[in-house]
Symmetry: C2
Subunit: 224 residues, 2 copies
DNA sequence: GTAATTAATGACCATCAGTCATTCAATTTA
DNA sequence: TAAATTGAATGACTGATGGTCATTAATTAC
């Protein structure tokens, strides 16, 4: 009796098709400007059908966004599992995030539309939870790497890895958001290259959190 | 012939009344959840009248927000003009911003709802320009202060004041947004006090941008 | 007192997220 | 094979909301 299983597969397939359509529309228009009719038309389905597979527009949005979170997880995972030295790993971490920003800009953007809290109303508990789990996994991964660097005496032992991670992440993300939205403004009004500012910001912070040993090893790496 | 002038005053007064009403509603509900009918009811006017005084909901929003920007300008202005030593000024700068965040949380929030670029569509050119001017004035003020600290050999001479300002501002703001939105999450999931993280982040950055002299003077100040 | 100007109104329009009674095709039963 | 059952898909509809405009009311000018 493979009929039931075939139907399940078809249903899953349709779910993915809808998600692909939603992704195209959200990438192009952003959350607010995208309409469910747009997505329905792109998916070549009626609007009502979308609601058989996803509870709300916001659920669809977050589900697309989770694809982006998974990509980021994979990128960090690569850094963690690559057979690098701990110092190499430490220097690869910001590179990996910058890479993600440059190569998956659409996902990066999606991950930061949802800062306004009032919009979380429409998100189903399941999706909220899935998001939370993925988020936690990413942070655990980063924390693990930073802890290793502390153990190896590359980062100061008096610092908490989670605090360090949050500081590095937040400052990098804040500048990336400016690069994404305001690059022209800063170039024209202040003759500032925001990519350089991001590099400087990272450099200053790493200088401040590294041990002497860590600074030396990172410098040695950047010279090769 | 004072009639015309009286009418002008009344019109200006009404404009302010509408803005007060809008402020109350935006503070309570945020941009998305606030409706023009809410604002009209709060102002005890019909919705149509609002549009005689403001071109759009977004215009109203930004005009309220500019009150908050002015307050921030005033706070920084106070720091710049207070008869402090340059070192005192430097230490007061992050304090002033943190103060603003704590005491004018509603305005702080408003200033960060508008990250999504697609919503700027509805903003009139006049309001956009006014915002830009205020923004520029704030940055000029901060840059001036940082330049003074560089001249006084408190901050490293190889750094650009605008770059330093942007780095300090962005990282502080990013953490404040997390405090505002996610404080509970971080406390529960990672036993992290975000206020402490903010302090640490500032400490690390100041350590990295100060000269030896600057570090000593700031340390002397914090011990008194 | 009458005409002209200005302020205010609220019914109305268009858009859009989400719903649901109905349709239609595939599957099962007899 | 024919009838009955299931459930996927539909699209007209609802309610909410930003914005408009013809009409009304009030004030000023002559």
């Amino acid at each position: 009796m493979g009929i039931h299983e075939r139907k399940e597969r078809e249903k899953e397939h349709r779910r993915e098709d809808i998600l692909d359509a939603a992704q195209r529309v959200f990438f192009e228009k952003g959350l607010a400007a995208a309409t469910m009719d747009d997505i329905a038309e792109t998916a070549e389905l009626s609007k009502g059908t979308l609601y058989l597979y996803y509870k709300s527009k916001e659920d669809l949005y977050l589900t697309v966004m989770m694809r982006g979170m998974q990509l980021l997880y994979d990128a960090f995972s690569e850094v963690a599992k690559g057979a690098y030295s701990p110092a190499k790993m430490l220097s690869r971490l910001p590179e990996a995030y910058l890479n993600y920003f440059n190569n998956h800009r659409d996902y990066f953007r999606m991950m930061h539309y949802l800062q306004a809290p009032q919009f979380h109303k429409q998100v189903s508990d399941e999706v909220k939870q899935s998001c939370g789990v993925l988020n936690q996994r990413i942070w655990d991964l980063v924390n693990g790497m930073l802890q290793r660097c502390i153990d190896e005496d590359l980062l100061r032992k008096d610092l908490d890895p989670t605090e360090v991670g949050l500081i590095l992440w937040s400052s990098a993300t804040a500048l990336m958001l400016r690069i994404d939205n305001e690059e022209g403004i800063w170039r024209e009004a202040f003759q500032l290259n925001l990519h350089d500012v991001l590099k400087l910001s990272n450099g200053l912070l790493f200088d401040a959190i590294c041990t002497e040993k860590g600074r030396l090893e990172l410098k040695a790496l950047s010279n090769t």
